[in-house]
Assembly symmetry: D2
Homo-oligomer: 375 residues x 4
Amino acid sequence: MKAINVGLIGTGYIGKSHALAFRAVKSLFPEIPEIHLSCVCDLDPALAERMRAGFGFADATTQWRDIINDPEIDLVSIATPNAFHREMACAALEAGKHVYCEKPMGVAYGDAKTMAEAAEKAPGQTMLAYNYLRSPAFAHALKLVGGGELGRIYFLRGVCEEEYLADPNAPFSWRCLKGMAGAGALGDLGSHLLCAIIALMGPPTDLVADMSTLIPDRKESEGSSEAMKVENEDVAHALMTFAAGATASFTTSRVSWGRKNRLAFDIYGEKGSIHFDQERMNELQLFEKDASEENNGLRTILIGPSHPPYDRFIPSGGHQLGFNDLKTIEIAKFAEAIQSGKPVFPTFADGLSIERCMDAIMSSAAARAWRRVSG
Amino acid sequence: MKAINVGLIGTGYIGKSHALAFRAVKSLFPEIPEIHLSCVCDLDPALAERMRAGFGFADATTQWRDIINDPEIDLVSIATPNAFHREMACAALEAGKHVYCEKPMGVAYGDAKTMAEAAEKAPGQTMLAYNYLRSPAFAHALKLVGGGELGRIYFLRGVCEEEYLADPNAPFSWRCLKGMAGAGALGDLGSHLLCAIIALMGPPTDLVADMSTLIPDRKESEGSSEAMKVENEDVAHALMTFAAGATASFTTSRVSWGRKNRLAFDIYGEKGSIHFDQERMNELQLFEKDASEENNGLRTILIGPSHPPYDRFIPSGGHQLGFNDLKTIEIAKFAEAIQSGKPVFPTFADGLSIERCMDAIMSSAAARAWRRVSG
Amino acid sequence: MKAINVGLIGTGYIGKSHALAFRAVKSLFPEIPEIHLSCVCDLDPALAERMRAGFGFADATTQWRDIINDPEIDLVSIATPNAFHREMACAALEAGKHVYCEKPMGVAYGDAKTMAEAAEKAPGQTMLAYNYLRSPAFAHALKLVGGGELGRIYFLRGVCEEEYLADPNAPFSWRCLKGMAGAGALGDLGSHLLCAIIALMGPPTDLVADMSTLIPDRKESEGSSEAMKVENEDVAHALMTFAAGATASFTTSRVSWGRKNRLAFDIYGEKGSIHFDQERMNELQLFEKDASEENNGLRTILIGPSHPPYDRFIPSGGHQLGFNDLKTIEIAKFAEAIQSGKPVFPTFADGLSIERCMDAIMSSAAARAWRRVSG
Amino acid sequence: MKAINVGLIGTGYIGKSHALAFRAVKSLFPEIPEIHLSCVCDLDPALAERMRAGFGFADATTQWRDIINDPEIDLVSIATPNAFHREMACAALEAGKHVYCEKPMGVAYGDAKTMAEAAEKAPGQTMLAYNYLRSPAFAHALKLVGGGELGRIYFLRGVCEEEYLADPNAPFSWRCLKGMAGAGALGDLGSHLLCAIIALMGPPTDLVADMSTLIPDRKESEGSSEAMKVENEDVAHALMTFAAGATASFTTSRVSWGRKNRLAFDIYGEKGSIHFDQERMNELQLFEKDASEENNGLRTILIGPSHPPYDRFIPSGGHQLGFNDLKTIEIAKFAEAIQSGKPVFPTFADGLSIERCMDAIMSSAAARAWRRVSG
């Protein structure tokens, strides 16, 4: 079993979480190949070097193409702003690398399409970092739904919301620029919910959407008097229909006071329902239709060793995983894909169906009309 | 202050809850006029008489027109199936009575229009029994929103759902018939949420909707092999826009396992957010933007004497009101309207804007297109 | 079936809740005898008359002995301060009345003993108003424990706490006086928890306790500079042992910020556990040992028609009962006892075992030693 | 700044969590010295070697004295069963090492005393692995209490409970043997709660306790017919008093169905209250006395960047830390102590006051009498 040599592009917070996870994963998942931290890249040589030293990479560079061009590197990890994903991912794929890329795929649907096409032609495995999928609670929901525990699905009601731009006085950020971020709340947060919906129910056939920018202008920075125009939405809502007659209601927002990382959904089927909230990611609520009315109710399942791969981290229940553990699980999954040659959801192809939804939401909101998505 | 003589049509559960409330209200709200239980009507003479005796009505009848024609009766309380509301309410209004009527107004938008027109011409006060409005927690939410505590409203996300038809084997009921019930989940449950939304945000300007019937056929009765066609929806979703740029997401369902009476919403504004769930109707959650990040979070307000009219029922906090208390508050409000001559929300005119939304939801779902509602 | 003629002593809040309940009970529980409101008593003639008129009593008086001496009156309802319970209850019992009395029985253990002895000799039924027992959720807990659903009981952990004297600046009240209130938090709040414990587990055999007065002096009234000495405890803790090897931990407090009416317990047995909190009195949490680890968790049961007598009030689940409904259930239970001649828990004899615990707690705390309670 | 060379004894789950944390800590807390994984020890050479390879230790051994005798090793990490703590820790201290040791200190109070005495004489820093202390939520509670945010403390009510021996059919384990485990629930679980209480309130002056063994015999192993005698308690309760008039109620249990890792407490003071539950370790509930009754309630604080050292792991709120992150924080704290020469709670001396409480609880339960603990 050959070791996997990793090149990481990006040293911001999310880059660090990649590095931490690459380092920890083999100890927890000894069945995967060895992971070598070969090279880390940042435009700023000091940052690149600090990261190299801090996390134990063999090398550092300021040229991301050095990583692409290094024949020893097997896996390229892309943790840069969205606007750079397409170029880097395509180059890496063409160079025969496996590509692990932060979400969303790019700033426009065209980026995603290009990336998915490149992936289709290339030998490498791909994975998008929709990390909330990796919580054992979400995995358990998926298992229950996939295993028919809820029977036929009736509908889902989901939200992904945070408060980071709720304050009208919060200053402008790159996230408000179409050219840098693409969509607003939808790209940053809503894409996670779309990924969860598609994992649970498959892609929607049709949707209709509404998008609104509640605070159209924001001051350039704390204390500045200059106003900048916000180019993307603060809130997006959508209704979706699915092949089998199921439906979904979808809301995403970056102006939701009191919410720090709320990715929550209720999913109802003919035999029961499941309820999840990422802000309590170590819990899952389940209701099962039951003969006994009097003793029935939503049960709060506390994630433990019977919800893999929790047991890789802690042998006894109730101790809880954290966000960084999700990254480790994600990388273990990607290493499995590389080892087995079998793609693991969500690949670039899967990501494309997320991006197709995002595109349809934007187009539906602009046209104020239903849009066909798939099928 | 003249006493109010009450005639009640209907002796089912909801009729009984009217009678209980009419009897209790004056002891708790001594400032309102005396209430006399004059006459109760049911087609079945035995039921009418049992109700007369059980609740202390002076008289009983099997002819609802007896109540309309009795010049001594001031207030007609309508607790019959929806299909009878229009005829009874219009007759009562024409006879100069005050009319307290269960929701929704009728089985079709035309009913509601006729009733609202009759109300406009008549001297009597009208009130629709959207009783969840009356909980002190909801009243407090209304006060906070109305008083600007949240600042400008960004968006609302609401659901009204129960499980009563979630089981595909649950037998057919009159609620599945268009001619008897009108809409399905929307009329029975969703109308309550529409009322709450309109109370909090005013009527929407536009909406788009989707409706689905998950179980198209149901057996006629427990054990029967005959199937009946379900004529209305199990689930309805809508997106709404409002004059000031706010939006709402709306879902109603009668197939939601685990939910008994969930009328829940989150409302977000520029200074905070409020969260309510009728299944915990003695609580309200509030988040207020605050200088201190580290000590801030959603607070769970437990309803007590500082949330009127809780103090009319119990002088100390945390003891809780129940559903029947909401009916008592509702009747106190209506008695106040009668006494003062000033209408109290929701009158038939207000109800018409709820019905206009329902009509637009049905029309939008049928046409798969946005619909203008108001403004 | 002869009607029950009721005489009520006391017109404060709790007297009013008695009157409301006496008036409503027959409509909801038609199987019990008719209830006639015969006479209400208050030292203040204006209050007595206002209550008579407001609630429809036939008569009013300022002399409580008028009620005792009236041969037509069957049931005496005592809603006065604790210091008067003994004399009134004993007189009523000697006169052959049924006695429904607020809790605790008196201000000292001797009062309770005298009352229980009087009850033993008299023909009338007795009931103490430990009203939280009456919630369908608590009744369901009792049924589960009594029916062996939890198997052998391991231990209980209970608390009864409020915040009404948490503020050191809250002024002195009669509740701080031994001669008026007896014990402090223990008599006012803890007695409810003791009643629940005894209902669930029987009386303890032994206990050890600690009591503390956190704020030894309080100003006489708002704005006053004069300090009054607090004569009883703010907090009491106890440990208890039971015949079958089970144990309990008990805490009661009137200085618990944030708690309005928290009567909460966890009870653990060999097959599961139950969790209750009066602040969410329409819910019960149940955990049952189960083969399936992965789908198990505490379930939140929402009280509904399968939890009698909820169905007497409302036919569909999730609508919730309130505190005043508990009073109605309590009176229905007492009317059943009168009708059947079979005592219903808690009679004065049952109350005596609650008071014996209170006495043992006080004596144990004073002596700093374990005390034998029973068995 | 010299690197810290680490020798780890024990390769079970908790040993692995040490190794993971030692490896991750410097990347997250760059201000501490470098950490070198020098040597790992296990009696089983295969396990020792697997651990060496899996976590990157320089060396492996089967002789723990090799680690003590290695002059290059600075820090000895003890992750063995309790019965070995004393000998290893004392040897390491005498050899001038810093000692990081799992809790509790030993199997009897004498062990703890010996260890604390050894620590007092030795130059090395000591730390006991009471890891729940390290959650940012608990740290925030400590900061609020220590900073006087609650004013004078009235009382605390705490529980530490799990379900691992709730099933009477669960087989015997070394945890049931006095000579191996020392106390039962008290040593394994209750010691964590004692540590939290002492951190929040200082050591108690006096206590009284009760201990019970609910299942006195257990089958030797799954399927075995042989019964083994359980030598220590399943449940322990205690009442405690503190120097300043505050009190505490304490319960620990290993037979609590439905609880996986519940270390929960309520702490009440003159200005507010705090509520924590390890099963939701990323939340803290706070109630602050407030002028506005109507908008006040318990707030659920979701831990984020304003609760250090959360920000070392994740820059945005609501993403959550997990149990393994607590170990990393713990080791960062210990590295700080080593670097600065200033002890960090809980040292062996602090641990001794935890053990003194445990000893007093056992002695009080045996004698059925209050026991003096300190002061």
